[in-house]
C-alpha cells in the first residue's frame, strides 16, 4: 500500500461537557514525519487516538488520501498504531504477534512465516519467532510492536510516545533508527511526544499543542527560533523573560518582553555592543558538566545564565545576551515576526 496524505479539518472532541480538542486543522504531507508535541493533558494523545478511531469526534473530518476515515471503526481504518505500553499480546509468541495482522487479512500460513522472518531480520531480531513476548527486553518489545504495525505496509503510522518507557541510551539510538526506517519506507508518520528534544531531532513538522488547541505548526528550526507565544517559548526551553528597557537593543519596535535561553546568556564577560544586559546578585551557582548554571536575582525577575567559571553566591554579576538570541514578544505575549525586525533596521 502506498503512503498517503492525512488531512484533519476542524477536528473537535468532547469528553462529557469538557472540550478536549478544539477545531484542529492539519495537513500532513505524504511520507513526512510529524510530531504532536505538548505538555501532559494538551490533547495530543487524544488527537492520535481520534485518527486511529478510538475517540469519537464531536465534529470535523479526518481524511487519508481520498478516503474519509471519520465514521469508520478502528479495524477498517488501516492505520498502524504503536502503543506506549507496546500492547504485545502475552498469550502469543513473537511470530504470532507479528503475524496476527496478516492472519486477519487472510494471508496463507507459509507467506505469513516468510514475512515475519523478513520483518524480524529488518528489526535485527532474526530467529526470535518462537520466543514469548514476556521474555523480551523493553527495546526488543518496542521493535516487535513497530514490526507488527509495519508488517501490513500501512498508509499511515501512528506512534504514541513509543520511546518514553525506555532508558536514555536506548532511546537515543532508537530515535535515529526509527527515523531511518521511516525514511527508507517513506511512510507518513505521526508521533506523539512530550519530549521537545525528541520532536526537534525527528520531525519534519512539529505541531505544538496546548489545552486542546494547536498553538503552532512549523518545521523544527522555525519552532525553536520563533515560538508563537510566550507559553510556547517556555515549553521549548526559553526559561528567561525580561521586560524591555529603553537601553535594550531594538529587535522589534513593539517588543514589550524578551525571552532568551539560559545557554545564550553569559555571565561576567566583556560586554559587547547591541547586547541585552542585566545586573543582579548571584543566588546560586551549580556545576552542570560543561560549565556552571548561575541564578541571578535582578530587580525584575530571577534569571538564569551560564558561566565557564564558578561565581560566588552573594556577589554582583552582569548578565548579557546577544541580540541574535533575543526572542521578542508583543503586548499580547505573541511572538513578533522577524519582518518587524527588518523594518526597524531599515
Amino acid at each position: 500500500m502506498s503512503t498517503e496524505a492525512l488531512t484533519l479539518t476542524d477536528v473537535t472532541v468532547d469528553l462529557g461537557r469538557q472540550r478536549i480538542l478544539d477545531g484542529i486543522r492539519l495537513d500532513v504531507a505524504p511520507g513526512s514525519f510529524t510530531c504532536l508535541l505538548g505538555p501532559s493533558g494538551c490533547g495530543k494523545t487524544t488527537l492520535l487516538r481520534a485518527i486511529a478511531g478510538f475517540t469519537p469526534l464531536r465534529g470535523g473530518e479526518i481524511r487519508l488520501g481520498s478516503r474519509t476515515l471519520t465514521h469508520l471503526p478502528p479495524e477498517k481504518r488501516e492505520t498502524a498504531m504503536v502503543f506506549q505500553s507496546y500492547a504485545l499480546w502475552p498469550h502469543m509468541s513473537v511470530a504470532e504477534n507479528l503475524g496476527y495482522p496478516l492472519k486477519l487479512r487472510g494471508v496463507a500460513r507459509a507467506e505469513r512465516a516468510r514475512k515475519v522472518a523478513k520483518t524480524l531480520e529488518r528489526l535485527e531480531l532474526a530467529g526470535f519467532e518462537e520466543r514469548a513476548v514476556t521474555e523480551l527486553s523493553g527495546g526488543q518489545r518496542q521493535r516487535i510492536a513497530l514490526g507488527r504495525a509495519l508488517i501490513i505496509d500501512p498508509p499511515l503510522l501512528l506512534l504514541d510516545e513509543p520511546l518514553s518507557n525506555l532508558d536514555a541510551a536506548i532511546r537515543r539510538s532508537l530515535r535515529s533508527e526509527l527515523r531511518r526506517l521511516q525514511k527508507s519506507l517513506g511512510i507518513t508518520t505521526i508521533m506523539v511526544t512530550h519530549d521537545q528534544e525528541e520532536a526537534l531531532q525527528m520531525a519534519d513538522q512539529i505541531v505544538l499543542m496546548r489545552s486542546g488547541k494547536m498553538v503552532q505548526v512549523a518545521a523544527p528550526q522555525a519552532l525553536y527560533e520563533q515560538p508563537a507565544d510566550l507559553g510556547a517559548a517556555r515549553f521549548l526551553g526559553v526559561d528567561n523573560t525580561v521586560t524591555r528597557h529603553a537601553q535594550d537593543p531594538v529587535v522589534a519596535s513593539q517588543a514589550v518582553t524578551f525571552g532568551f535561553r539560559t545557554r545564550d546568556a553569559r555571565i561576567n564577560e566583556p560586554v559587547r555592543p547591541a547586547a541585552l544586559t542585566r545586573k543582579g546578585r548571584v543566588i546560586e551557582c551549580v556545576y552542570t558538566g560543561d560549565g556552571y548554571h548561575v541564578s541571578i536575582d535582578t530587580v525584575d525577575a530571577e534569571l538564569f545564565a551560564t558561566s565557564a567559571t564558578s561565581v560566588a553566591p552573594g556577589t554582583f554579576a552582569v548578565l548579557q545576551v546577544p541580540e541574535s538570541a533575543l526572542i521578542p514578544f508583543g503586548p499580547d505575549d505573541r511572538h513578533l515576526p522577524p519582518l518587524d525586525r527588518h523594518e526597524d533596521i531599515a
Binding site: 478502528p74 479495524e75 506506549q84 500492547a87 504485545l88 499480546w89 486477519l104
Partner: protein
C-alpha cells in the same frame, strides 16, 4: 573479619528456636483441626465405607452394585452436567464479552445491573421458580400459548433433563460471568485496541485476544460450577420425579430409605472421580501456562 562480627547477632540461639515453632503451630492448629476433622476424616471414612461390607470385611460389591443399579443415573448426571457447563460457558462468555467490548454504554450498564440477580437466589428457591416456570401449565407455556406462538395442545413439560440444564445454567451463569467479567476487565485496554487497530472486529477481539487471556478464570468458574451442580440435592428433587435422575438424589434416596451408606458412598466415589478429573485437567493447563511464561 568484620562480616563475621556483623553476622554474629543473627545466629540462632538453640534455646530460643523452640517457642517460635510452637507459636507458629498454635496459629495453624485451628485451621488444621477443622480441615482434618470436618473434611479429611469424613472423606476418608466415606471412601473406606464404600469398600466395606456389613461385617467390616473389604469388598467391591457396593461399587459393582452402584454401577449396575445406578449406571444410567451416572450417565444422566454426566450428560446434564456437561450440557449445563457448555451452556454456562457459552452464555457467560457472551455476557462478559459484551460487558467488556460492548459499544452501547446504556446497554452495558443495564446488563451489568441485571445479570447478577440470580446470584442472590438460593438453589432451593431456584428449583421452585423453575418448577412453576417450566411445568406443562407453567408460565413459559402459558406465555407461549397466550401470545399465539404455540398451540396449547403441543405444550409439554420441561421438568426433565432440559429443566435441570436450564435451572443449573440460570443459577450458575451469573457466578461464572462475575468471575470472567472481572478477568476480562483486567486485560489491558491497549491489547484490545492494538487488535482492533490491526484489523480485528469485536468478535475476533473477544475470541482471539480477550478470552485466551481470561481463560484460566473461566476454567476455575466452570470447575466450581461442576462441584456445585454435583452437590445440589434440592433442584433434582424438585424438578425430576422418577428415573433417571442426578446422583445426589439417588444417594439421598439410598440413605433415607435403606440406610445403605455403602452404596451411597460408592456413588459418591463417582462424584469425586469426576471432580478429580477436572481438577487434574485444570492443574495441567495452569502448569503448562506457567511453564511458557
Amino acid at each position: 573479619m568484620t562480616t563475621s562480627f556483623s553476622h554474629a547477632p543473627s545466629l540462632p540461639i538453640p534455646g530460643r528456636r523452640l517457642p517460635r515453632i510452637s507459636l507458629g503451630l498454635l496459629l495453624v492448629l485451628p485451621a488444621l483441626t477443622a480441615i482434618t476433622l470436618l473434611y479429611a476424616l469424613p472423606l476418608i471414612r466415606s471412601l473406606v465405607t464404600a469398600f466395606r461390607d456389613g461385617s467390616g470385611a473389604w469388598t467391591t460389591e457396593h461399587v459393582v452394585r452402584a454401577f449396575s443399579l445406578y449406571g444410567r443415573d451416572m450417565l444422566f448426571s454426566l450428560g446434564v452436567v456437561s450440557a449445563s457447563l457448555a451452556l454456562i460457558a457459552a452464555m457467560s462468555i457472551a455476557i462478559a464479552g459484551y460487558l467488556t467490548l460492548g459499544a452501547t454504554p446504556w446497554a452495558v450498564r443495564a446488563l451489568r445491573w441485571l445479570y447478577r440477580w440470580p446470584l442472590f437466589i438460593p438453589f432451593v428457591v431456584t428449583g421452585q421458580l423453575a418448577r412453576s416456570f417450566l411445568a406443562t401449565n407453567g408460565m413459559m407455556n402459558n406465555v407461549l400459548v397466550e401470545t399465539g406462538l404455540m398451540a396449547s395442545s403441543s405444550a409439554q413439560s420441561f421438568l426433565d433433563w432440559r429443566g435441570l440444564v436450564l435451572t443449573f445454567a440460570w443459577k450458575q451463569i451469573p457466578f461464572v460471568t462475575l468471575l470472567l467479567a472481572g478477568a476480562m476487565a483486567a486485560v489491558e485496554q491497549s491489547h484490545i485496541e492494538a487488535a482492533r487497530n490491526a484489523g480485528a472486529g469485536r468478535l475476533r477481539c473477544l475470541f482471539q485476544i480477550v478470552l485466551p487471556q481470561a481463560a484460566p478464570t473461566l476454567w476455575v468458574g466452570l470447575i466450581l460450577s461442576l462441584v456445585a451442580m454435583l452437590s445440589v440435592l434440592s433442584v433434582p428433587m424438585m424438578l425430576i420425579s422418577g428415573n433417571p435422575t442426578m446422583m445426589t438424589s439417588m444417594m439421598a434416596h439410598r440413605i433415607t430409605y435403606y440406610g445403605d451408606y455403602g452404596i451411597a458412598n460408592a456413588l459418591g466415589l463417582f462424584s469425586y472421580a469426576l471432580t478429580a478429573v477436572t481438577a487434574w485437567f485444570y492443574l495441567r493447563l495452569t502448569l503448562r501456562r506457567e511453564a511458557t511464561r
